[in-house]
């Protein structure tokens, strides 16, 4: 059951959640909230804490409903299976040990063929460590779907939605006994590379081939298009140039340079380890839109028979919308099939395993999940 409120008011949010949770067949709720609603913990924590059913989700830059992008509103998916929920907070502790918490929370419950929805505060550190722990503990026995929640103003705020309330610097993991298929793609094209990351700290690239990161990045862009990159046009010109971490036999993992520190370090969504090699990738509208369609096909194929009756969720990077602008509608249209209304959110980083390949925290990528409804 999918319910949509377009007003984005606290009253509508309360009424929607109360209604959905009161239905006897509903055992849990996935809730996606648009950042434009301006919800604060003070407003919605009493509502979340009062719910009798498990709830998980987040506040995202925008919501996706079919081919529409909503800057205000609330999407609620009523689940017919009880989700096993674990909240991890804080994420950004200096020496996290996620293995132990994940084993205690899920080891007795996990079975092959289940799906884990994963929503993280997109501005937390250690997201890569959490994803690595998930892979090391559970591998690809289960499918993962989700992404980074957070405000489009690119500032950290409470954005992870749980029965405890709205949380900051947290992740919510919901394991469901539901079969799913996933598709992951970005369609970015390689321009040049590889280059070595000579200095970095988590998601900050300090130098590439021993040249200050911003200068190196700027030179590469200038060689490709002749335009000069500055701090001011990073959001527009930079949106078209993304770094890629190579893998054998699979699409590169995109790392989006989102911002520049005062020292000229490039801030990416997602970690870039020192010693790794990066490539420069370039965005191209038609190949990106085509990639979205491929992601849907991958997900359908992985799911197998009955995909037309399944729940389709889309976790699409906010950077893709920034680059595609008015063409972004075509990307969403390419994911739609038949009478199904895909729902989802524009995220700050995406989480999925691409079919039966490695689980990753992606950037500038579209993730499509096809999940059985039961």
């Amino acid at each position: 059951m999918i319910q949509l409120d377009r007003t984005g008011t606290v009253e509508a949010f309360q009424s929607l959640l109360t209604h959905c949770s009161s239905l006897p067949e509903i055992k849990g709720l996935l809730v996606l909230v648009a950042d434009g609603n301006g919800f604060t913990p003070k407003q919605i924590n009493p509502i979340l804490r009062g719910l009798e059913v498990p709830v998980f989700g987040g506040i995202f830059c925008h919501l996706i409903h079919g081919e529409e992008i909503l800057s205000q509103g609330t999407l609620v998916v009523g689940l017919h299976e009880v989700p096993h929920i674990e909240v991890i907070q804080p994420l950004s502790s200096p020496s996290p040990d996620f293995d132990k918490q994940l084993e205690q929370a899920f080891l007795a419950k996990v079975r092959p063929g289940q799906t884990m929805f994963t929503v993280v505060d997109g501005f937390s550190r250690n997201i890569a460590d959490l994803i690595e722990s998930l892979f090391i503990i559970f591998g690809l026995e289960i499918n993962y779907l989700g992404g980074g929640a957070g405000s489009k103003s690119l500032t950290s705020s409470p954005c992870v939605l749980t029965n405890e309330g709205l949380l900051q610097d947290a992740a919510v993991l919901a394991l469901l006994d539901l079969v799913s298929g996933t598709g992951v793609s970005h369609g970015l094209q390689e321009v040049c590379g590889p280059f070595k990351i000579t200095e970095s700290y988590r998601n900050q690239i300090i130098s590439i081939d021993w040249v200050p990161a911003l200068e190196f990045y700027s030179n590469l862009i200038q060689q490709d298009c002749g335009k000069e990159l500055t701090r001011d046009n990073l959001a527009t010109l930079g949106a078209g140039y993304i770094f890629g971490l190579a893998r054998l036999g699979a699409e590169m993992i995109a790392r989006d340079p989102l911002n520049v520190t005062e020292d000229g370090h490039l801030l990416c969504a997602g970690d870039v380890p020192p010693g790794s090699f990066i490539h420069l990738l370039k965005a191209d509208a038609s190949s990106m839109i085509n990639a979205a369609s491929c992601a849907r096909t991958q997900a359908d194929n992985a799911f197998g028979d009955g995909a037309e009756d399944a729940l389709v969720t889309v976790w699409d990077c906010i950077s893709r919308k920034a680059f595609l602008q008015e063409d972004f509608g075509q990307e969403l249209a390419s994911i739609q099939k038949g009478g199904q209304t895909a729902i989802g959110a524009l995220t700050i980083g995406e989480i999925a395993n691409s079919g039966q390949d490695y689980l990753e925290f992606y950037n500038n990528t579209v993730v499509v999940g096809v999940t059985e409804r039961k």
Partner: protein, 789 residues
């Protein structure tokens, strides 16, 4: 063999990741996860080969990704193949740079040797790894095998060192313990020998003394007999079996039996059943030599059935052979003392109860509550389980006390305590800490849901009315909740947090619960400041009246002025009534403010009358609290007489919800006012729930249509229908209908078309101070000439 750049990159990165940790598990975690990420593999596992002989080969799993498939079953058949091949070809011959490749469904499994250690298995779905990459992995696997061996050696050395150190420690401890035990034994033997010697000496001495005493007693038997017969206290001699041998007259008086009746009977006969078991046991112990002389209190049963308490002291006498002969028993009546003690205990219990309980509801009082909360918090500190504190305040309890009297209020508190008791567990603490304030301590919570469940249960339980003196009263509560240790770590902090949250619950419209959040502190501070300011505002003339004209829409003229209260705050500027009226109601300031408004409006109207303005009436809004005051009619009369305003110039506006709270009492008050010539209007009509049958009984002159209906009459068909009905209702009951909040000409046109006779709103004028009232409004007003304000 030439590599692509990408392959070199992958090769290099795997090489960099191997062997960065000293421990085997962390090293393999990092290395294996890099293998998988860079080669796009789904599973990976490292196995150690224990090659004792080719007949006895053993392979142990060391580290696998994922760890959740802990039984390693995906690898079992692959491992069986390896064992087979090793047995066949011999361990020494197993040297190849190429891995074995096998498949399990759509998974391709690569088995690679880690020289000198064991094997690495990688599983990949989809397209396989090419030969070039597979060959290039051989030196990497060599490095990984070497890293595994190094880690094992380091582990082994560490384990050996640790074990040796532990063994040395254990031996040292054992030696120390042995030495200490030996020393302790020696000391105990010495102590025991000394004690036996001492006991022996004591025993000898006691035997001698006892013999002397017994001899002396026999010698003085005559003296004893004389004392025995004449003593004031009861004396008797008793055989070891409990038979009464001799009694003195005092004992006979004490028990009510004669000497004949007592001598030859048993102690049991005169012993009260309550004391029989104790008494029998003492005689038994005396016979067995466990206890000799003893003194104790017991109850006797007199011949007349009365019970007496006595202090009995028995001294046993032995015969020459050393056998127990008889006991001499001294019996003193202590009944009065025992009665006094019992009375004192009852009194103490009562005092204790009063000190810790509320006498009205019999709930724990503030003192006991603080004690329990302190105890709950210290228990929680140890157990780690949270404690929830509920602060409950009855909504509008003051109104009950004011309108129905304190005895009803008290009875209501008792009923409320009973209702709340039913909502909590026996292990929880419910206390009344003053007035209409209750608190609850919830312990042994399993989560926040337990807390909200209780809060909801309380609110739900109050949906049923409370029966108080043949009335049914509906009460609601506002609940503030704070949690230990999240919100505060001391009693005062926790109480303050719950109190602050309770005020927020009140603020949210009452009949709800609210958990504390730290940002509430600032808001409550703000409210408290505003409350202080409001108290000063009355004394410092910061409250002022603005006036808005009411027009006869048919005759195009101003017929009255409605007085509207404003607060001109010296720092905050004009504060709207919606912000301070609820505060004034909450803190009991609404009645003095209302009385002031009444008199000030009457005085202003008289000024206007003297200036010769054509309108006559002034309309004043009356609050619920004012209307329910016992002296409300006298207050109105006083205002009229002080200002000299004729009663027909005054219109009182009372909301329908105020009237409907107690319909019969309201009709009496309204009739009284009407009889004095005062005009009455029902304010905000349509927003409440007045029934037509009641409306007919109200002696009123006008209905005022609420502004919320007027606002959308031109766009909302429902609102238009409601307004039409109110106007028709007014006409049928011969009541004047006044529309509030007219802002546009379209609204005016609609109202005129429906036959609405009177109205007010921004279209004609905003509420303004009397000195700013435009001349044209003061003298005359034509609808056609109004400029939208």
């Amino acid at each position: 063999m030439s590599f692509s750049l990408l392959e070199l990159e992958v090769y290099f990165q795997i090489a960099m990741a191997i062997g960065n940790e000293a421990g085997l598990a962390p090293m393999l975690r990092q290395s294996l996860s890099t293998y998988l990420r860079k080669l796009d593999c789904a599973i990976g596992s490292v196995w150690q080969l224990d090659a004792g002989s080719s007949e006895n080969l053993r392979l142990h799993p060391i580290f696998s990704i994922p760890r959740a498939s802990g039984d390693h079953s995906p690898y079992d058949d692959v491992m069986a193949q390896i064992r087979g091949r090793l047995k066949k070809e011999g361990v020494a011959t197993f040297q190849t740079s190429l891995p074995w490749v096998t498949t399990r469904g759509s998974l391709t499994v690569y088995v690679m040797e880690l020289p000198g250690f064991g094997f690495l298995l990688l599983g990949k779905y989809g397209p396989g790894l090419n030969q070039r990459i597979l060959r290039s992995l051989s030196p990497l696997n060599q490095k990984l095998g070497q890293a595994c061996r190094s880690c094992l050696q380091t582990n082994l050395m560490q384990q050996t060192n640790t074990r040796l150190e532990a063994e040395i420690d254990q031996r040292h401890v054992a030696e120390q313990e042995l030495k200490a035990t030996k020393e302790q034994l020696e000391i105990r033997v010495k102590e025991r020998t000394a004690a036996l010697n001492r006991a022996n000496e004591g025993l000898q001495q006691e035997i001698q003394e006892r013999r002397k005493a017994e001899s002396a007693l026999r010698e003085s038997s005559e003296t004893f007999r004389s004392i025995f017969e004449n003593a004031g206290a009861g004396l008797n001699t008793i055989s070891p079996s409990g038979k009464i041998l001799k009694v003195n007259p005092a004992f006979c008086r004490m028990t009510g039996y004669s000497r004949e009746e007592l001598e030859g009977s048993t102690v049991e006969m005169i012993t009260h059943p309550d004391s029989r078991e104790h008494s029998t046991r003492l005689y038994q112990e005396a016979r067995e030599g466990i206890r000799r002389d003893f003194s104790y209190e017991k109850k006797f049963l007199r011949k007349d059935g009365a019970v007496i308490w006595a202090q009995v002291t028995n001294a046993w006498v032995h015969d020459e052979a050393g056998e127990l002969s008889h006991a001499v028993s001294l019996v003193q009546d202590v009944t009065e003392r025992k009665q006094a003690e019992a009375a004192l205990r009852r009194h103490e219990t009562r005092l204790n109860y009063l000190a810790y309980h509320d006498t009205l509801t019999h709930l724990p009082n503030r003192t006991l509550f603080y004690d329990r909360l302190t105890h709950a918090m210290s228990t929680a500190r140890r157990s780690g389980q949270p404690v929830a504190l509920f602060f409950l305040d009855l909504d509008r309890f003051k109104n009950i006390n004011d309108s129905l009297g304190h005895h009803i209020g008290d009875e209501l508190l008792v009923k409320m305590a009973d209702r709340l008791r039913g909502c909590v567990r026996d292990s929880d603490t419910l206390a009344r800490i003053g007035g209409d304030e209750f608190v609850i301590i919830l312990e042994q919570l399993h989560g926040y849901k337990d807390v909200t469940k209780v809060a909801r249960q309380i609110l739900r339980s109050l949906q049923e009315p409370l029966e108080v003196s043949d009335r049914e009263l509906y009460m609601t509560v506002s609940i503030g909740i704070s949690m230990f240790p999240t919100d505060a770590d001391d009693v005062e902090g926790l109480m303050k947090a719950a109190d602050v949250a309770m005020y927020r619950a009140k603020d949210q419209g009452r009949n709800t619960f609210q958990a504390y959040t730290p940002d509430m502190d600032g808001e409550i501070q703000e409210l408290l400041t505003l409350e202080g300011d409001l108290r000063r505002a009355i004394d410092q003339d910061q409250l002022v009246l603005y006036y808005q004209p009411q027009l006869n829409l048919e005759q195009d003229r101003v017929v009255a002025m409605e007085a509207l209260l404003r607060w001109e705050h010296p720092e905050r500027g004009l504060i709207p009534p919606a912000q301070f009226i609820p505060l004034a109601e909450e803190y009991g300031l609404i009645v003095p403010i209302g009385n002031w408004v009444l008199e000030a409006a009457c005085r202003q109207n008289m000024t206007w009358q003297k200036e010769g303005h054509p309108f006559k009436r002034v309309a004043v809004n009356i609050s619920a609290r004012q209307f329910r005051q016992a002296d409300f009619v006298e207050v109105i009369e006083r205002a009229l007489s002080r200002t000299g305003m004729p009663p027909e110039y005054l219109e009182l506006e009372i909301t329908e919800s105020v009237i409907m709270q107690d319909v019969e009492a309201a009709i009496l008050t309204l009739t009284d006012l009407k009889a004095r010539g005062i005009r009455l209007a029902v304010d905000d009509f349509g927003t409440g729930y007045s029934s037509l049958s009641y409306l007919k009984r109200f002696p009123i002159d006008a209905l005022k249509i609420d502004r919320t209906f007027v606002r959308d009459i031109t766009t909302d068909t429902n609102d238009a229908a409601i307004v039409r009905s109110i106007i028709a209702l007014g006409k049928s009951m011969n009541l004047q209908v006044i529309a509030e909040g007219i802002e546009t000409k379209d609204q005016l046109t609609f109202l005129l078309k429906q036959g609405c006779t009177h109205g007010q709103g921004f279209l004609f004028s905003h509420p303004v101070p009397p000195e700013s009232l435009p001349d044209k409004l003061q003298r005359n007003l034509s609808i056609a000439s109004v400029e939208p304000a």
